[in-house]
Every structure is written in structure tokens, then in C-alpha cells.
């Protein structure tokens, strides 16, 4: 069998490449990391992802795949060893894909919208964000992980929550995820945060805090009445 060459383009902080790292690590697939500075993208990244020019990009034996959830499905289908990331049953698979899409299309933007605002604007933004988190709480009820008994596709898709919610809350000095109201989600966040492989992967928290302080400040200044 020919030597596998697996490369992953990532940035130090973006949560989307982390999904792929988790998948590769969980399946024990050796890979090389190419660290990108997103303010100064390499010509190689632009060559491999000309359409979106973003990370992550997986390059497997010279062929590139972009979009983190697409890459996760590719990893699952290419390296069939355990653990399997997606369920066998087509209905269960459809459910995981549906909720992963909800996470990216709705949950993340709604939390970001809380994060970049203040005062009354932030209060208003809290409503849809907390509603979205409540859906996740219901989804988790009675389960240890979104995918069931162990970490799977949907946990990897929501993994950013485990880390980023507390970063957002610390930077903005407000709580969006009420542990009392969302006990299953809070428990999942802790379990995922501390899980083997996952816990070694988080970007340095102090750097994340500094970066997000600057981001929030920039957004607030932009919106400030002149």
C-alpha cells in the first residue's frame, strides 16, 4: 500500500480545523499540520482552496478537500477503522447532519451576535442564542454525548461550544449559557473539554482571550454612534 500523505491546513485559533484534528486523532491517522496565518495566507492554501480561501483544508495524497463537515465525512469514509464517527442507520445519520447544520447556520452566529454586542443590543441578541442552546439541551437529554454513548460526528461538530462559550463569557463579562437551566449541555461541555485527545488540542486560553478581547472591542467601536 502506498504511503499515505495527509496534510491539514489550520490556523492556531480557528475551531473548524480542530474538528478534523479530533477526527484524525481519534482514528489514529498520522498527519502533518500546516499552520496558516490567516492575515497572510500562503499561496499553497490559496491553491488548495481557491473558492473559499479558508482553513481547514485536508490534502490527502495531493488531493484537497475543504469545508470541515465535508472533510469529517471524507475521513469517516476513507479510514473505516474504529471509532466510527457516524451511525450506520440512515435516519440517525440524517439527524446528525441536520443538527450539525443547525449548529453552524444558527447556533454559532447567534452566540457570536451576543459576543460582539453590548447593552440593550446584547440583551436582545441573548434571546435567540439561548433558545438555540435550549434545543441542544433537549437533544442531549438522557445521553452522555450528542452521538450517544461516545464521541461522534455531532460532538465534533459542536465541540467548539465546549471551549468558546467560556471564552466569550469571560471576555464580554456576561453569561449566555446558564448552567442551572442547561444541566445536560453543561455536563457535556465538561466531559468533552476533558476527554482524551480533545483536551490536548485546545489553543492556549490566554491567547484566545486576548484575541477575542480585540475582536469584541473592534466590533463595539464599529457600532458606536459617531
Amino acid at each position: 500500500m502506498m504511503a499515505e500523505e495527509v496534510k491539514l491546513f489550520r490556523s492556531w485559533s480557528s475551531p473548524f480545523p480542530l474538528r478534523v484534528i479530533w477526527a484524525l486523532e481519534l482514528k489514529g491517522i498520522p498527519y502533518e499540520v500546516i499552520l496558516e496565518d490567516l492575515s497572510n495566507k500562503s499561496s499553497l492554501l490559496l491553491h488548495y482552496n481557491p473558492i473559499h480561501k479558508k482553513v481547514p483544508v485536508l490534502v490527502h495524497n495531493g488531493k484537497s478537500i475543504a469545508e470541515s463537515l465535508v472533510i469529517l465525512e471524507y475521513v469517516e469514509e476513507t479510514w473505516k477503522q474504529t471509532p466510527s464517527l457516524l451511525p450506520e442507520d440512515p435516519y440517525e445519520r440524517a439527524m446528525e447532519r441536520f443538527w450539525a447544520k443547525f449548529g453552524d447556520d444558527k447556533v454559532l452566529p447567534s452566540l457570536w451576535n451576543v459576543f460582539i454586542k453590548q447593552g440593550k443590543d446584547q440583551e436582545e441578541a441573548m434571546v435567540p442564542a439561548q433558545e438555540n442552546l435550549t434545543y441542544l439541551e433537549e437533544l442531549l437529554r438522557g445521553k452522555n454525548f450528542f452521538s450517544g454513548e461516545r464521541i461522534g460526528f455531532l460532538d465534533l461538530a459542536f465541540g467548539w461550544l465546549a471551549n468558546m462559550v467560556s471564552v466569550f463569557e469571560e471576555v464580554m463579562g456576561a453569561t449566555v449559557l446558564d448552567n442551572q437551566k442547561l444541566p445536560s449541555l453543561s455536563a457535556w461541555m465538561k466531559n468533552f473539554m476533558d476527554a482524551p485527545i480533545i483536551k490536548e488540542s485546545w489553543p492556549p486560553r490566554d491567547k484566545l482571550i486576548t484575541k477575542h478581547q480585540a475582536l469584541r472591542q473592534a466590533h463595539i467601536e464599529k457600532e458606536a454612534p459617531k
Binding site: 473558492i51 490527502h60 488531493k63 478537500i65 475543504a66 469545508e67 465535508v70 472533510i71 465525512e73 471524507y74 469514509e77 476513507t78 440512515p90 435516519y91 445519520r93 440524517a94 447532519r97 441536520f98 447544520k101 443547525f102 434545543y135
Partner: protein, 212 residues
């Protein structure tokens, strides 16, 4: 056990059309239920409480939502006939990537072409052609996006063809003039029974929009 398949849909929804094409490709018998976008049915609200949108496929009582997710589901359940996605993982990844691109880019810009005016519309028109030129580039000289056979990306995109007359009328442009390869591809897809029987007449779509 006999499969019970119900589709909640709107006849002019390019998203619902994707599901109808997939079901037709697979020869699946189903009950079509036309919803009313001005007065959403209790069934829709029950089956898609999160988004409250069509299409919803209800298979033996269990709902599946989001058109591309439904199409993949159909491909995986009725897997013995007319594969909609390729079997090779890399080709599958490319198909998912481009179907995603269609979802994220084509709908939004198309809507702005017909729903906005003035500068906003001009910007939308420009973006519309940029996006379709990218799609033309990806198609190249292949008969279909998937290569020799009609597949996932073709299904994702061709349904917008039924709205081209709307975009051209409001945008005052000709899509064929700018993107002849796309028009040729769409007409090729229309030769397929599943597509021809699903896509409504372009003028009917415009009339319905104007009278709503």
C-alpha cells in the same frame, strides 16, 4: 412492510424540487402534500418545529428536513437504484462541497436579484454572474457536475433553472448571454424525466410570484 413516504412541499420551492427529483430518480412512490406558505399547516409545524419550512420528507412517520440532507437520506435508504452520490470518497467530498456552495451562494444572491432594486440589485447581478461563472468553471466540459452521470450537485443546482425567467425579468439580463454553458447543462438535465416532470414552467413561476 410497505414504505410510507410523504413529502410536505411548495410547488415552486427549488429546495422541494430537489427532493422530488431524487424520489423520481429512485422510483419511490410517495404522497405529495402542498403546504401554504401564508398559513403553515399543523403537520409542517409538528414535523419541522425548528425551521417551520418545507421540504419535509416523512418516512414511516419520521421527518427528515433540509433538502440536501433529505437527498442524501434518499440515496442511502433506496440504495439499490440510480446512485445520486458517487461511490468514491473523494468524489463524494467534491459533490458535497459543491452542493454546499450552491446552497450557501446561489439562493441568497438570486433572491437579491429579484427582491432588491437600484444599487443593491446591481451588486447582486454582478455577484450572480461571478457565482455562476465559478460553477461554469467547475462544470467544465463535463456533461454533468458529477461527470458522465447526473448526480447530487446537478440536483442541487438545476432546480434554480425554473426560476431563471424570474431572475432575468427582474434583473433585466440574459443568463444565456453570460453563462451559455450553464444553460446548455440545464437543458441537458431537462431531458431527464425526473427533472422535466418536476421543474415547473418558468413563466408559471414568474406569474405566481407576481400574483402573490
Amino acid at each position: 412492510m410497505v414504505d410510507e413516504v410523504v413529502l410536505l412541499d411548495l410547488w415552486a420551492s427549488m429546495f422541494g424540487m430537489r427532493v422530488r427529483i431524487a424520489l423520481a430518480e429512485k422510483g419511490v412512490k410517495y404522497e405529495y402534500m402542498e403546504d401554504d406558505w401564508r398559513n403553515k399547516s399543523d403537520l409542517l409545524l409538528k414535523m419541522n418545529p425548528l425551521h417551520k419550512k418545507v421540504p419535509v420528507l416523512i418516512h414511516n412517520g419520521k421527518p427528515v428536513c433540509e433538502s440536501l440532507i433529505i437527498v442524501q437520506y434518499i440515496d442511502e435508504v433506496w440504495k439499490d437504484k440510480s446512485p445520486l452520490l458517487p461511490s468514491d470518497p473523494y468524489q463524494r467530498a467534491q459533490a458535497r462541497f459543491w452542493a454546499d456552495f450552491v446552497d450557501n451562494k446561489v439562493y441568497g444572491v438570486s433572491r437579491r436579484v429579484w427582491a432588491t432594486k437600484g444599487e443593491e440589485q446591481e451588486a447582486a447581478k454582478q455577484e450572480f454572474f461571478e457565482i455562476f461563472k465559478i460553477l461554469e468553471g467547475e462544470l467544465g466540459d463535463k456533461p454533468y457536475f458529477g461527470g458522465e452521470t447526473f448526480g447530487f450537485v446537478d440536483i442541487a443546482l438545476v432546480t434554480f433553472y425554473s426560476w431563471f425567467y424570474v431572475y432575468e425579468t427582474f434583473g433585466k439580463f440574459s443568463i444565456e448571454a453570460e453563462c451559455p454553458t450553464i444553460i446548455a447543462w440545464a437543458k441537458r438535465c431537462m431531458q431527464k424525466e425526473s427533472v422535466a416532470k418536476t421543474l415547473p414552467d418558468q413563466k408559471k413561476v414568474l406569474e405566481s410570484l407576481l400574483s402573490s
